[in-house]
Symmetry: C2
Subunit: 98 residues, 2 copies
């Protein structure tokens, strides 16, 4: 299992309708067949400047690659992510034994 | 629920016995009574320089505060984290509605 996460900040003012619309519309990613456990998150630590996060899981690297190439994901990145996101950091995790 | 995560890199060489020992010994944190879903993670994205991650969840902010103040956590930070960790980023998340 690969957990793909991204912490980010939007160009929109906090609490704005545009912020709400972005977070709502991102749920389109949860509908992709290879995406598991999609979460929309508020980043609440004061030790960094990110305000939001997404987390999702893929069963295999092939599923991750298929997500990256999926037209719905490609369109979301082009039409929403690039114009609306001010800063972000991707972190991908694979679990060790407990 | 608050998910506390930290991405980090150790001073130890990758694959070294000291790296393995640090990751093994960190499991002491999983034994604290307020810590839920403790995970030891490998960071696998090439888009950042972090090599490891921990993730844990707290039911409440009071549980998070109790973890921060717990002698086992305080000792781990003092005796292992500060001397052995080269760089880190904490990200804490609270879930939006799905």
């Amino acid at each position: 299992m690969i957990r793909h996460t991204v912490a980010f900040t939007l160009r929109h003012p906090p609490g704005s309708a545009a912020e709400v619309a972005f977070l709502d519309d991102a749920r389109v990613l949860a509908g992709l067949p290879m995406v598991r456990n999609f979460e929309r998150l508020r980043q609440v630590s004061g030790k960094n400047a990110f305000r939001h996060g997404f987390s999702m899981e893929f069963a295999t690297q092939a599923d991750y690659d298929a997500y990256d190439a999926h037209p719905v994901h490609v369109a979301f990145v082009r039409d929403r992510w690039r114009p609306e996101v001010a800063d972000f950091l991707e972190l991908d995790y694979v679990a060790h034994a407990p």
